[in-house]
Every structure is written in C-alpha cells, then in structure tokens.
C-alpha cells in the first residue's frame, strides 16, 4: 500500500468529506439563509418545513446549547442569526432531513419574516458612516510630508480591486457524529483547532469532548481557514441533538453564495519620486470591504499594511487601513491574505509614475527594489534580500531587452493582435502576522519494523506538506521515506494547532517534526554508540532500542524565534524572512474585440533549499495562475448584495486552453530561518499573476488607447478592456 496521497488520487481512492456517510448512513442538513442583505429578523416559522416529508427537525438559534458565537477574532458572528440579518446568505436555520433533497426542500420552506433596512455595499460609504470592524489601522515611517515636498514627481490615484472566489473543487462540508460522549467531526477545514474551539463553544462542551479529524482537502487556498467552521458547527449541533450522524455538504451554488471570498479593496495612493526616479514617499489608504462580520478581516488588513510598499525601498511611507463593515457575506482569507491588494495598488502607483516620468516601468522597478539591510516601514530590517538578484537573473535569463524589442517591432505595424509585457517582482514576508500562531507541534512514532508515523497540525490540501514532512522525518531519522506515513490531521493527535495557512505549514510543522525526529535519532545514536563499534542500520537500531526499553516516540514543539518587538532596539519584526522572485508576463490583445490571451509567464523564484522541487514548482505554477485569474477573467458580480455570478457557468476561473505557458526557474539560496534551509512557497507566487494586469495595460497603450490617468480597475475583463480600447474611438 502506498503512503503517497497522489497515488490514491490517480486511482480515485482518496476520500473527501462527501465520500463519507452515504445515503442511509446519515441524516443530511441544509442551511436556510437570509434572502435580504440587511434587516431586522422578526420571526422564523419552521412549521412549513417540518410538514414536509423527510424533514426530521429544524434548528434555530434557540436550539444552541452553548454560546451562539463563532467569531474568532471579533465576537460578531452568531452561528445562527438572532435578531439581525446582515448579509444575503447569513444562516438562519438548519433543516435536517433523511435525504439531501428533503433537507434542501425544507430549507426552502422555512418562512422568515424580516423588516428590511437600508444596506451598504460600498466600503467607502461604510467608512463614512463609521461602520468599521476594528479601529482604523495606521502606521508611518519617516517624514512623509517633507518627502513629498522634496519629490520631483508626485502621482496620485485610485485602485479598485475586486474580490475573488476560491473555487476549491471540493465544496465546504462536514460530517459529525456523537460517539458515546464525544463529538467527532470530519471537517474540510484548514483550521482543525479553530473548528474544535468553535464547536465546543457552541455546544457548551470542553474542547476535550470534541475531536476534529481532517483527512485531506480538495483545495482550500484560504477559503477553509475560517469559513469551514460554521458548517462543522452546524453539523455538530444537529448530530448532538439527534444523536445520529449528520452530513452537511454545500452544493456549488450554495458554496458560492454563502462562503466568503477575497476582500475587494478600494485604495487611494500617492507616490513621490526624485528626478532620478527614486521613490521618496508613499501614502496609501485602504478601504477593505470586510462584509457583514469580522472573520479574518483585521489580520488580512494588517498584512496589506505590512506589504504596502511591495518589493520596493520606500524611505517615507504612511499607511492607513479601514476594515469596513458592509452587507455582503464576510470576506475571508485567500492566498496572499491582503498582500495582493497591496501589491496591486503599489504597482499601479508605480505604473502611474512610469507614465508621468516616461521612464519604462521595469526601469523604475529595478531602481527601487529593496536591498540587503533595508528597513521596511514596519521596522523589519531585511537580511538575505534577493529582490535585485532574482530581478536581474530573470531579466538576463529571459532576455528582457530582446523581448521588449521584439514586441515593439511587432506592435509598430499596428497589427490586430498587439502584445504587451510586464515584469513583476515579489518580496513576501513569511510568518503569521499574529505572533501567537507561529507555533506548531509534531508527534513522531517509530514502529518496531522501522516504519514511521508523523502527526502534526498541518492539513494536506494538495500543497504537498505531507511529502515535505515525510522527507524531513526520513532524513533526520535515517529511515526509508516510503515507510514514513504522515497521518491525517486530528485534534487528538495534535493539539492547539495553528491553521495550515500563511504559507507556514511546512515551516512550522516541519521544524517541529525535525525536532521530534531528532530526539528519537539521538536516543538511537546514543544506544548505537554503547552497543557496538559497527554503526547500526536504522531498523537494527530500532529493534535494539525497543529491546532496551527506550522510547521510540517523541513529541516536539516549535515556535518561530525572534518575532515581534525587539526589546533592545524596539524594531518590529513581523516576519521570519522574506521570499523573493520576479516574473515576466506577456499578453496578446485583440484590438477589435478586446479579448486577450496571457501568452507566457517566465519566473525566477527563490526557494531556499527546496525540500521537494516538484512540489514547489507546482505551488508556483498554481498560485500564479490564480493571480492571473484574479486580475483578468474572474469577475464577481453583485446585484443589491446578491451574488449574480454564483455558478461555475457565470464565474470563470482559468482553464487549460487559456492558461499561458509557464516557465519556472527555482533559484536556490541559503536560508537559516526555516526548516532545512527551505523557504515557504504557498502564497508569494500569487503575486506574479498581477503582472498580467500591467502587461494588458501595456498592450492597451500600444494599441493607442488613452487610459484614464490614475484610475486602475481590476479585473481587466474583456468588457473592461474593450471599454478602455474604445473610450477614444481607437481603431
């Protein structure tokens, strides 16, 4: 039997949540949710649902035995609504039926009486009304006003970046059962402990009475960090009430309507440069559309502020963030966690400056990249900076000047298909911005036959963390990697885990695994030394250790060192280290129809010493295509707070025929800040995709479009592109 996840996948043997508890083995739950964006909830009549065949029961807020609250950062999210409705899709009641059709029919039959109130969807409007989720976030470095006064060029404008739906192929879901006096939940969550804590709170149980088991996820990308919790809690509520297994799996449409997405931002920027095109000052204000409850919005806004200056050295900067409460479903984590919005805004400002100064964008970028020893606005001093190195490597390796000349040549004869190119550098901080979360534990057992079991809080969702953990354990122990099994994540085997998020899964859990494996290895080494002169093989050593009654198990804990405020210097250090890289993105634009293709993306990406190059390459490729999707075809449309693009028919993610050719060069370097010299890889490459936005602007300009100055709207759908092409009556 292979312990490789991937072999299970190609054989169709891997089981996801929906593959558990088939008809007849469980009851089904469906959510009745708000149809209005803002209202006072007057009454909920469940009788019509109960009257339907196959409906077992209907639960509302008053059936919750514990606290009706699942908000993790801010306690502002009841599991089931009580007196207010704050977004379309807010859960009101849970209908349990003998089949999923019965449950869904029941959910549709519940009668909700609500008095509508005026709703707010625009974050600036919400900020104006004082509807903030947390107080304004602001920090500043240097004398910003003086630096602007000194600037030879100052540009200012606005960036609108839309949300993004995760489209993990496995929708949200959970199955819950009560086993004796324990509630067991199988949940598709990145945050097993988060689910455990919320379930315990809602059911009024100690956390030890709740076990959360996460076998694997069919994709997550941040969408199951906080947003898996309500469905797990609802299934658990029903299972405890009925003492039968209950399954709650959202259909695609339900998932798209109910679940949170990447935050839309509306951003004001101002950028000042000297005559030499060197950045002197930057000022930015983010209006983050948080939706109707906090979810992870404050943490996401923090990361935007930390990445406000993107990959650039900015001597004076002022950053302000508003986390705005609106009447849309709560927005949530999505790969990049607030950084993409910040990168887009800064690169837009830089694009604006390039137009104003007539210096090519890539030149301005290169001149201003961060370098070793730079102090970021947050106070962190960079060490091991590779921004210029990867930029120059990409420029040379992919022959930027030749490409630019070829494109200029091609475009010179005004062809129907014009081309555009953009360079996109990345500098991405690794660590949870919430310091507490930067810890992990690992439990390693070695069995007497030399096989190994590793349990951590890292959830496998396709990012390959299990392979990395297996590799670490095998190499430290000296065991055969094929005999290392990385277990499904369970709150009983790994307690108080941090979500598998912020790209830190392998860093944190890998380091804990390394420590646990090392302590077993040390016991074996000590034994070998005393036992014989000839070195023992791993399995001999294991047999010997067992016979000598020496423990073959170890548990270890790791906490990222040196984070936070340095007590001596007062410098702030939110991140363990940064990840760097540069992409070249090319597009081709049809100047008649406004349609386009991203034709190629070439990347030099900084991986440290990769634990698994194949996995890291896959992460870069996958992330960057999501980035391209975000700024091109992925178009969330709301009508009065109702999501209109609520199916895969109307919300388009990139497909294989539209996906560009990708060339990813993994650039190795030393890194003493993560396990075995590796670097985190999950999120940073998302940023490369943003290059498509600027490559399209480049092509539009080549086509003669006169773009409105200081206005940047993402995504550049074919509709927006054609509108921009035609606003001057081109062609």
């Amino acid at each position: 039997m292979s312990s490789d996840e991937r072999e299970l996948h190609v054989r169709g043997l891997s089981r996801f949540i929906d593959d558990h508890c088939l008809p007849g083995q469980s009851l089904y739950a469906a959510v009745c949710s708000s149809k209005v964006p803002c209202a006072e909830l007057r009454s909920v009549d469940i009788a019509p649902a109960l009257a339907l065949p196959g409906v077992v029961t209907v639960l509302t807020a008053k059936d919750i035995p514990g606290e009706n609250q699942i908000g993790a950062i801010v306690g502002d999210e009841p599991l089931l609504a009580t007196d207010h409705l704050r977004w379309i899709g807010e859960p009101i009641a849970l209908v349990i039926g003998r089949s999923d059709q019965a449950a869904r029919a029941g959910a549709a039959a519940v009668v909700v009486d609500a008095q509508e109130r005026p709703a707010v969807f625009d974050p600036r409007e919400a900020a104006r009304l004082g509807q903030l989720i947390v107080p304004i976030r602001r920090f500043e470095k240097g004398d910003v006003d003086a630096a602007f006064t000194r600037s030879a060029t100052v540009v200012a404008g606005r960036v609108e970046s839309a949300g993004q739906e995760h489209v993990y192929l496995e929708t949200q879901g959970a199955v819950a059962e009560v086993d004796g006096n324990k509630v067991r939940i199988r949940s598709a969550t990145q945050s097993p402990t988060g689910v455990q804590r919320a379930v315990a709170r809602v059911l009024g149980l100690p956390m030890s009475d709740v076990e959360v088991d996460v076998p694997r996820l069919g994709g997550a990308f941040g969408g199951k960090e906080d947003q898996a919790t309500p469905y797990a809690a609802l299934a658990a509520l029903a299972a405890l009430r009925l003492r039968q297994p209950v399954k709650l799996v959202l259909s695609r449409v339900e998932d798209m309507r109910l679940s949170g997405k990447r935050h839309p931002y509306s951003t004001d920027y101002r950028l000042g440069l000297d005559e030499g095109g060197r950045i002197l000052a930057f000022e930015v204000t983010y209006y983050q559309n948080g939706g109707g409850a906090a979810d992870l919005s404050p943490a996401i806004l923090d990361r935007s502020l930390y990445h406000a200056t993107a990959a650039y050295r900015v001597p004076a900067a002022r950053m302000t963030g508003y986390s705005c409460r609106t009447n849309l479903p709560p927005f949530t984590a999505f790969r990049g966690f607030g950084a993409p919005q910040a990168f887009l805004a800064f690169e837009a400002a830089l694009d604006h400056a390039a137009q104003a100064t007539a210096v090519p964008r890539h030149e301005l970028q290169r001149r201003n990249l961060v370098v070793e020893g730079d102090c970021l606005p947050c106070g962190m001093v960079l060490s091991g900076a590779r921004a210029t190195e990867t930029f120059d490597d990409a420029r040379k390796r992919f022959d930027l000047s030749k490409r630019l000349a070829r494109i200029a040549n091609h475009n010179a004869c005004r062809p129907r298909l014009v081309q555009g190119l953009a360079t996109m550098p990345v500098c991405f901080g690794i660590s949870f911005t919430n310091k507490i979360l930067n810890q992990a534990s690992s439990l390693v057992h070695v069995f007497t036959d030399g096989s190994v079991s590793v349990s951590t809080g890292a959830v496998e969702m396709g990012q390959g963390v299990s392979r990395k953990l297996a590799r670490i354990a095998a190499s430290v122990l000296g065991a055969d990697e094929a005999l290392v099994r990385v277990e499904a994540t369970s709150t009983t085997r790994a307690a108080n885990t941090s979500p598998t998020a912020a790209s830190t899964g392998a860093d944190l859990n890998g380091m804990a695994t390394l420590l646990a494996a090392r302590s077993i290895r040390e016991r074996l080494d000590a034994l070998s030394k005393s036992a014989s002169d000839a070195p023992l093989s791993f399995s001999q050593a294991v047999t010997h250790a067992y016979a000598s009654r020496i423990s073959l198990s170890a548990q270890a804990h790791y906490a990222t060192p040196h984070l936070g405020i340095d007590p001596e210097t007062g410098a702030h250090r939110p991140f363990a280290y940064h990840v760097y890289g540069t992409a070249l993105v090319e597009v081709e634009l049809d100047t008649i129809l406004g349609t386009y293709r991203v034709t190629s993306v070439k990347v030099v990406h900084d991986v440290g010493h990769s634990l698994d190059p194949g996995t890291d390459r896959g992460q870069v490729e996958g992330a960057l295509l999501q980035g391209i999707g975000w700024v091109t075809c992925e178009d969330l449309r709301y009508v009065e707070g109702r999501l209109a693009s609520d199916t895969l028919t109307t919300y388009k993610v990139p497909d294989i025929l539209g996906a560009p050719e990708l060339e990813v060069v993994l650039s190795e370097s030393d890194n003493d800040r993560a396990v075995m010299g590796s670097k985190a890889v999950g999120e940073p490459p998302f940023i490369y995709g943003l290059g498509a936005f600027f490559a399209l602007l480049d092509a539009l300009r080549a086509a003669g479009a006169r773009l409105p100055e200081g206005e940047y709207d993402s995504p550049l759908t074919p509709e927006r592109v054609l509108t921009l092409l035609c606003c001057d009556g081109n062609r």
Binding site: V10, P23, L169, E170, G594, C633, T647, V653, A659, E719
Partner: protein, 469 residues
C-alpha cells in the same frame, strides 16, 4: 435496464432520469467520480460511455452529473475504479511523474478524459491530448504540470493502431485499458442510430436530447418524468437531401464536428465547435436541444440562423417546416407545441460560394457562454455582397437574425463598407440587457466590433481563396 458497469453487466431499476453521478455514488458506492458543480462546468465527474455503432464500439467522455441513466442503456460505463486495478497505467503514471496532481479532486476526471483521448484519438499529438482535458477544471496546478503529463503520455506511447478493436487491444497491451473491457466491447449490442420514419413522442413523456440543458435547469423534473430520448425518435446523421443538408435533430455537437458534409458548408467547423462547451458536453448536447432551449446566446442557433436553416417538426398531424428565425418567438419560447418533435434541421448547401464568419466573445475563450456571439454568411459577386445573413446572440431575448443589417450589407463592396452606418442599423435592431455576462452598453459596443471582425474575416477569406468565388 441493462448496462455494463466497468467489468460487469448490470441491471437497474432506478428512475431513468437519475443522474449517472448519483447512480454511481449513492447506489453503487463508487466514490472515485467526484461532484464539483453538477452543472457540467468542472469535469470532476467525467466518465466514459462506450456504445456499439455500425462503425464499431466508440467511447466518449461525458459528465456523469448531466447524463441520465437512460443514456447508458446497452452501453459500457467506465469509471476510475475500472481503470485502477493492478499496476498504474500510462495515463496515471504520467500524471504522477509530472506532478500533475495536487489536491486530487480533479484527478479522476482527468484520468478519464485522457484515457478517452487514447481510445478515440485520430493521432497522438500533444495539442489534441491537451484539448481532451479542456473540460476539466483544475484550481491547484496552474495546468502546466497537466500539459507536461499530456506531453509525457504522448511521447511515451508508440504510434496508435487504427481506432476500434486493434486500438483497444494495443492499449490493453500498454496497460492503458483493462483487458477485461475487450470482451465487453464484443458483447455490447448495437445501439441503433435510427433513421426516420420519426415518431412524435408519446403523450406525457419528456423528450431529452443530451440533457445538458434540462438536467441543469430542472434536474428533479428529469428524475421524476417518463423520459424518451430524442435519439430513439429521430436520427443523428448529416445527409444530403436535394439542395439541402439534413441534420438529424439528435446529432450531438461532437457528431457534427465529424461530418464531412457539414465541413463543406462550414470550413472552420472544428474551430467553431471548439468554442462550444467542452468535449464532455459536446458528446451529449444535441442540435435540437440547442434550438429548443432557445437560449438567446445558443451558439448553434446563431450559426444555423446565418446558414438560413429551417426546422422540420413532426407532430401527430404531420410534418411542418419553419424558418429558424420564425421558430424563436420570445424569451425561451419557441414555435413547438406539446407532442411535437424536431426531426431535422435543413441547411441549404452553398459550398464555397458562401463565406462564413463566426465570432464568440466571452470572459473565457473556451467552455464559457458568450456575452455576444454572432455569425455572418455572405455570397459575393466579385467584391460585391449579393446575399447576406447576419445573426447575433446576447443582444435580444432570442437568438436573432438581424434582418435590416443583413439587407444593408447586400449591394455593398466588401472593401468599402460603411461600418459606422452598418453599426447604426444594427443598433436599432437590438435590445440587450445588463446581466452577469456584460452590460447592455458593452454588448452594443461589442456587436459593432463583431461586424468589423466579420468583414475582416471575409476579406481574409477572399484573399486566401485567391480573390473571387
């Protein structure tokens, strides 16, 4: 009802409108086929369906979520479980070795699509192998590794034998096709591609073409109804009939693509077809279904309008013919009474005399529904347009023939068309609305650009064919 389920013959009494996906997962407990959307858009549920036709046994990929059980009668259903006994085959191997699997949710569907490709490919090329997974969404990989896997697969295999038994045996020897399936192919009974006389459907039955529309719009109606397959009432061939081509109403889009006769009328047939849905949907979606669902942006409807088609409708009272532009009455309403059946669509044969241009603009080029689509057919006398038919979708409640604009084209010189005037005429004929596929303003703008694209295409075609036709 009888079918062959992987290596076994099986009988079932499930309602005939049950989605194959539910049959597999809920009835048989075969969980390798995944449900990602139930709308045909993700391909996670891809399975293969084999049928014996007079030309031999043919396998096609379909979406299990939109295929009713009845479509499997006397057919061979292949799922990932059937392909996963023993050692991994070359498809699975190449996916593994190229790292084309991350979360794994899309993977079984991709295994099935690529296997289907090996079974029915005309030749092994990287491009075709990649096109075969065009209906499989993957959110994790960025597709580059899937492309690598397709490339590795193609280069690892020897040249393919001709399609049919030899190919099956070859693939079995290569480990890409279970040996146990070879005898099933022999056992499958012939499924008739019935020729007329067509019969109108019995009262109280629901006619189903491919189900790719009905099973999305009204899945429970399909499950609860007495279903009759259009293919059991009408034929699915493309034939010459006098000056016309007669397209059987039950022809699938995939069948259209293979028709040499239709290719004579529509030279860029395979390009146009590639813009419609995905391989999985194309092997189910029928011509009549595309017309009867009357989506204002139906691609076949738009194409057939420009080709001056007529619909032949059979009822207990006899046969009637309706010009396609008269068939569409109002939003989702067509000139079809209960008990009537579309039998054929007639397309006048014009061959190379007619120049044709088809354009479709959507957010995503493939597997997307148009914001606006348009077709234009013209006949030229030297440079002068003597005949023109312009159709467009997404700009009115129905797929629309733009009669005034078509008229305005007639008499113009292809090289000196007054686009501004033409666009103005077109604008007066259309009434687009704001929706999720674009604003009304955009659709108006787009239609003007599509006119430009048509003209440019004609000029190019004329140059290409050496001037005059």
């Amino acid at each position: 009802m009888r079918l062959w389920m992987n290596e076994q013959e099986q009988h079932t009494h499930e309602p005939l409108g049950t989605a194959v996906l539910d049959y597999l997962r809920d009835q048989l407990g075969l969980l390798g086929t995944k449900s990602g959307c139930r709308e045909g858009d993700c391909g996670a549920c891809t399975v293969l369906v084999g049928a014996r036709t007079p030309q031999g046994v043919e396998y096609e990929p379909v979406c299990a979520c939109l295929t009713p059980l009845v479509a499997l009668e006397n057919r061979h259903l292949v799922t990932v479980e059937g392909l996963s006994h023993g050692d991994l085959g070359p498809v699975q191997q190449s996916i593994l070795s190229e790292g084309a699997v991350q979360c794994g949710f899309c993977t079984p569907g991709i295994v099935l699509s690529l296997t289907g490709y090996l079974l029915c490919a005309t030749s092994l090329t990287e491009r075709q192998a990649i096109a075969s997974v065009a209906g499989n969404l993957c959110r994790c990989t960025g597709y580059e590794s899937i492309r690598r896997a397709a490339r590795a697969l193609v280069s690892s295999l020897p040249a393919l034998e001709e399609r049919g038994p030899k190919r099956f045996a070859q693939l079995a020897a290569l480990g890409a096709w279970p040996r146990s399936f070879l005898s099933i192919a022999d056992d499958l009974p012939l499924v008739a591609n019935r020729q007329p006389p067509a019969r109108p459907p019995a009262r109280g039955t629901l006619v189903l073409g491919g189900g790719t529309d009905l099973m999305v719009q009204r899945p429970s109606a399909v499950r609860g109804s007495r279903i009759v397959l259009a293919s059991s009432l009408a034929h699915s061939c493309v034939q010459k009939r006098g000056d016309d081509l007669a397209i059987g109403s039950a022809s699938t889009v995939a069948q259209l693509e293979r028709s040499a006769l239709l290719l004579e009328e529509v030279p860029r047939l395979s390009h146009i077809v590639s813009l419609i849905a995905s391989p999985q949907i194309r092997s189910r979606a029928t011509v009549a279904g595309n017309l009867v669902n009357a989506s204002p942006i139906g691609d076949l409807a738009i194409l057939l309008l420009a080709l001056c088609s007529k619909v032949c409708i059979e009822s207990p009272k006899g046969v009637r013919e309706v010009d396609l532009e008269r068939f569409f009455l109002s939003y989702k309403k067509v000139d079809l009474r209960p008990g009537e059946l579309i039998v054929e669509v007639l397309v006048p044969r014009r061959g190379p005399r007619r120049l044709l241009s088809f354009e479709k603009v959507c957010k995503r080029t493939h597997l997307d529904i148009a914001s606006v689509n348009s077709a234009c057919a013209v006949e030229l006398d030297s440079d002068r347009i003597v005949n023109a038919r312009l159709s467009a979708g997404g700009i009115a409640p129905v797929p629309k023939l733009l009669e005034a604009t078509s008229q305005a084209l007639v008499g113009s010189d292809l090289h000196s068309i007054d686009i501004a005037a033409l666009t103005k005429t077109a604008q007066a004929e259309i009434s687009p609305i704001d929706d999720v596929r674009g604003s009304a303003v955009y659709k108006r703008l787009l239609l003007g650009r599509l006119l430009l694209a048509h003209i440019e295409s004609f000029q190019k075609q004329q140059r290409f064919s050496g001037g005059h036709s």
